[in-house]
Symmetry: C2
Subunit: 353 residues, 2 copies
């Protein structure tokens, strides 16, 4: 099976090189030509989307975000440049963001209504279509590594809660005291959200508050294409501030938060999870490419700028296709993001320009 | 938005009636003609797929299955005939199967490795693309009703574990002692699976056993088209016998186990959940119709007879499209199933004929 898929991806690669790869304006990464037989590779990341405005951001904080995004993407890029797999690049890149308090994932995870941090993550291998996901873990330092273990060392795709934590222990992953995930900023956000909730206690569906929309967001994700033509994507999040009822968002849902398929592309989402689940966002981009012949850029625009707004959802995606073309599409004021191509050209962004 | 969708479905309905609806051999339900302005409606259900062989089935058990399938589908059909919504028909039809010990859902749920019953369910509204899902609940009598409450009374799509149970209580749903889900047959299945597992304890990934493949299956599901042209689908399951680590299968995953969209079709899956998640099975059928112009029958065959076997997965789906065409596609030895069209024509099946 793996051999078959490898031959298939190889034939895609050859086909790409044969047909003088179409390069659209946005896709500077697709620089392969007929003469150039070196396999293209590339990587793209996000650190969450939302109402990120320059006027609310200090210069030093902006610098901190940019530095961490650069550190993360360079980690993955080096792995790819040295011939490492897309899966490894995705995992290690996400680890850098998971270990930073700047992003709503792992170390920087937001708090639930009960004052806990519940972490979700997923990863998918575009070569085999294998996938792993975890929901609601509270003591695993790097949830993306647990998602990876679920994928390679279990016959399951998705584990949750205490069971997922038990599996993490058995696999020898780093377990931390839940205190590790405490950050003062995130705790205060949860308290503010609780306060706002109290004020509108007459509302039956109290956990929806239009003013805390931003606190629904924040996720980290990565998509990569390696020198063997294999794609992978991963997503890791702390979910929604002040969330209740062990809510599961899109991040651990294969097809919504994460999808990868060597036939098309690798995608990681960051947005209002409920709408991204209903829109099956990550797989929809792949399906539009496979079934309708859209380019990655066209498919991403269709889903993020048209279908999601029509449904009422907002957020963004990062994605890379099997030719190395990259998309960083969002319909919010900003999205922490970066991309880096084979030639080491780096682009970092925060706001919509 | 709702108005817009209503107009849209109305225009589909008119279009359907204008273009002299194509009726394939398998689809006796699409009997609408230009002269016939009554909106088509219909319903289809499954009670699980797997190695269901006539030689292993007593006549009385076969009769019991057929009688329960008929009772279930007649419940939903009556709702539709009286002008009720597809959503209500789906819910009430699934309730009948949830309350029976014959199917692996609610009352008849299989046991986890820890000797518990963990229930998953999801429901989706094809008109609004709203959806609700629950995973890992242990004391809610009818998980499909909880999925419905999540959809209509929360801003979330997916709740899990204790949080989902808390929400069920707050919504006034019927809570039962977990003992309610005890059935001797299912308990013995779990014990047998545990025994087999012990024998191959040297295997690191002990929870995979090719001999218990069947115990991965068993789910109930329903898809319906109502007189207003609205589609809905729902799925409810006890998951996999002897499952560990709070595994979540495809049943509560929107896009994998359940999907509904008035543009295309409503689908409920029953199969080896891991492969159905990786294949985004339910949404894939819709995407093949929307993006590639396939009929429901063609799309279902493509996914169940081609893509799933290639990936290594097995199981089946039931689905109905916005014209009332029905598919009951499976690649296993059998699938408990039934369909009923506007004219009250009923077809019940168990084995592959």
């Amino acid at each position: 099976m793996k051999k078959l898929l490898f031959l298939f991806s190889l034939s895609i690669f050859i086909a790409c090189n044969d047909q003088n790869t179409q390069v659209s304006e946005e896709n500077e990464t697709a620089t392969t030509t007929e003469q150039d037989t070196v396999q293209n590779f590339g990587i793209v990341i996000h650190g969450g989307a939302g109402t990120i405005l320059k006027e609310n951001m200090s210069d030093s904080l902006e610098q901190a975000y940019k530095a961490k995004l650069e550190e993360a993407i360079r980690t993955g890029h080096e792995i790819l440049a040295n011939g490492g797999t897309a899966l490894e690049a995705v995992q290690r890149t996400i680890n850098v963001m998971e270990d930073s308090p700047l992003f709503n994932s792992a170390k920087g995870a937001v708090f639930t209504n009960e004052g806990k941090n519940e972490l979700d993550a997923s990863i998918m291998d575009g070569e085999t279509l294998n996938a792993g996901a975890v929901a609601g873990v509270t003591n695993v330092k790097n949830p993306i590594n647990l998602a990876y273990e679920v994928m390679v060392n279990s016959e399951h795709v998705m584990l949750s809660g205490k069971g997922a934590e038990q599996f993490a222990k058995e696999q020898g992953l780093e377990i931390v005291d839940p205190e590790y995930f405490y950050t003062e900023n995130r705790y205060r956000s949860m308290e503010r959200a609780r306060e706002r909730e109290k004020k509108k206690a007459d509302n039956k569906t109290a956990f929806y508050d239009p003013f805390i929309k931003d606190e629904k967001f924040g996720t980290v994700g990565c998509a990569a294409l390696d020198k063997n033509g294999n794609l992978a994507a991963g997503t890791s999040t702390g979910g929604m501030t002040n969330k209740k009822y062990n809510r599961i968002g899109d991040a651990p849902i294969i097809g919504a938060g994460t999808y990868a398929n060597n036939k098309t592309c690798a995608v990681s989402s960051t947005g209002w999870g409920e709408y991204f689940i209903r829109g099956v966002v990550a797989y929809d981009i792949s399906a539009l490419m496979e079934y309708k012949g859209l380019s990655l850029e066209e498919a991403a625009k269709e889903v993020i700028q048209k279908k999601q707004p029509e449904l009422g959802g907002n957020g963004g995606i990062i994605a890379i296709d099997n030719q190395g073309n990259v998309s960083m599409e969002f319909n919010t004021a900003g999205m922490y993001r970066a991309k880096m191509n084979r030639d080491g050209e780096l682009e970092i962004g925060i706001y919509s320009e």
